[in-house]
């Protein structure tokens, strides 16, 4: 027996075409973007933004968004760029990043470029936009750029070129958190261009103080490039002088603790950096005074007379920056030390009288 299934096939075909129509009618990324831009009611806009956040764009969706960015212009392009920055599956391939970069380089609307650069956050590629002529783009690039070996050169190029104050603030803040191991590499890059005094001073003031001290002031071996010719040597010496000025002008608690510890332990270090330590202690932040006095007290617990004598100078200098209970603590400590021997008593007395 043969069953006639022609009517079933017809029904199947009809249902397939119905599904195709429904699929076509189902709103997608582009529809939501269009609807969001066209909506006059804020609540409607908000709903479409929620939809755009929740959706997971496929490769085709990403391609559509790129197409909108490059061809639609205006608010549509901006929203598409923001959606691309929100759904960053394209970051997983080098080609995806390359296409995104190309979009950002080619687009002429600064707001759209800024949104595209935002999409590159925490990616080294964002660094190339730091020197962009538009402030919004440069600011977004500075925010998006991580500090790494790859990005140090464009960051320094931006700072050297004289970027806008807000962008400079962001970059210097990021450099403040640079890993100490990168500081020598950064200093090696400084030789690549000509730097103004103020730009260098601002840069050094943002770098980790311990790394600067060790690199410029506590080393007998300058960077290899500094020995190439006279000009390089002069530049290195200029950097050393600037680093010393910057560190003395605002020494941090960590640096002062390091200097005090090393001076106590190592007589040669204390002799070498005596005047630097004295200047630094005299400019110590009064808020860190109690911490430093406590540090000196710990360092001198059961210490030799020589070590105590070396640190006494710093403690006397530090007392000029303090007031209230902290000064009393310094005096108590000095009196304790005086009672250890007549020599020490005389030495501390001279220091207190400023004739040490």
């Amino acid at each position: 027996m043969v069953m006639d299934i022609r009517h079933l096939r017809d029904e199947e075909a009809a249902s397939d075409s119905q599904e195709a129509i429904e699929a076509e009618q189902e709103p997608g990324l582009v529809d939501w973007i269009e609807a969001c831009v066209d909506a006059s009611d804020p609540a409607d806009k908000a709903r479409f933004i929620t939809q755009l956040r929740l959706c997971v764009p496929s490769d085709e969706g990403i391609a559509l968004l790129r197409h909108l960015v490059s061809s639609a212009g205006g608010a549509r392009a901006l929203l598409a760029a923001q959606v691309l920055g929100h759904h960053r599956t394209w970051l997983s391939t080098a080609a995806g990043v390359k296409q995104h970069l190309a979009l950002a380089r080619e687009n002429e609307a600064s707001a759209v470029v800024a949104a595209l650069v935002w999409g590159l956050r925490q990616r080294d590629e964002a660094a190339e936009f730091i020197v962009h002529t538009d402030n919004a783009v440069a600011r977004e690039a500075a925010l998006a750029t991580p500090v790494s070996r790859r990005t140090l050169s464009p960051i320094l190029a931006g700072l050297r070129a004289g970027i806008r104050p807000e962008v400079e603030r962001i970059l210097l803040h990021k450099l403040h958190q640079i890993h100490p191991s990168l500081v020598r590499y950064l200093v090696d890059l400084l030789v690549e261009g000509s730097w103004g005094e103020e730009a260098l001073r601002g840069l050094f003031a943002s770098l980790p103080q311990m790394a600067l001290f060790e690199l410029f002031l506590d080393t007998r071996h300058p960077a290899a490039w500094a020995l190439v010719d006279t000009e390089s040597t002069r530049f290195w010496q200029r950097l050393v002088r600037l680093a010393s000025d910057v560190l003395v002008a605002g020494p941090g608690c960590e640096l002062l603790r390091h200097l005090l510890s090393r001076s106590g332990d190592d007589e040669a270090f204390a002799r070498r950096h005596g005047s630097f330590l004295r200047d630094a202690v005299r400019r110590a932040d009064a808020n860190s005074g109690a911490d430093l006095v406590g540090h000196v007290e710990r360092l001198t617990f059961g210490a030799s007379e020589e070590k105590v004598a070396r640190l006494a100078q710093s403690l006397v200098d530090l007392s000029t920056r303090l007031d209230g209970a902290e000064v009393d603590k310094v005096h108590t400590l000095l009196e304790q030390w005086k009672s250890r021997s007549a020599d020490l008593k005389l030495k501390i007395y001279h220091l207190e009288q400023g004739i040490g």
Partner: protein, 272 residues
Amino acid sequence: MGADTISITEDFASLQDALNSGAQQCILSEYVKNPFLDDDVHALALRTGMVRQEVGPVLAELRHAGLLQSAGRRGHMLDVQAIIDTSIGTTDTPPADKEAEEPPAQLFAPLLDALSCGVALIDINTGAVEANQAFSRQLDLPTDGLNAECIAERLECDLHLIADDQAPVLCALENGVSVELRSGNMGPFSGLIAVVNIGDGAWEISKAQVQIQEDLFAQLREEIAHPAEFLQSFLEKPKKSELGQARAAIERIHAFLALYLLDDPSGQPPLS
């Protein structure tokens, strides 16, 4: 940004009008410019030029006002539902307001009451707290009207900052009781979970140990350090007149060592 930006978000900008502080407006304006922004506290501080410590409380206020919501991974994003509610609210009372008037449902009461230790579930956004009796008793807090503000005041900490940081925090109180706070989700609840640890008298034990240690150190200074210091100076410049004192110093040290550290000649450990 250009005119394009305004055409998308100018309607959202009205949200800022309701805000009192410039810091709140400054932060919200960044989210209005880009409704997909999901910055965390650190990134926002950098973006706005504000001090990081100031940004946390402002974010908490904006979250409390329903304008921002968590974006996961410590980030925050614009709560677009607020815009929808604001828009609907012009014609109808928002359901959220009605809910706010009613006391929050005690969903976890049976579970919390079954626990012997004090536990509280703190909703950071609304300030609502669901806690068991043990929690109120152990922290000397009222059972009725307990809210996030009371707990923050008692623990002397900023609950919003702890929720933002995600990492668990241990708040120690003066009586040895400690409270561990950690972010967590449980069914419909999402916020901070506070667990009281009364320490089983560990505080008293550690206090007693500190006292014993202090006494021992004082004895060590008196019986070992001072005589040893005298001996050192004597050996550097020996004087006949101090010979007796030196001998006495050695005897004091020996007596101390015999008492605490050397074996008793009878074979019994001296401290047993």
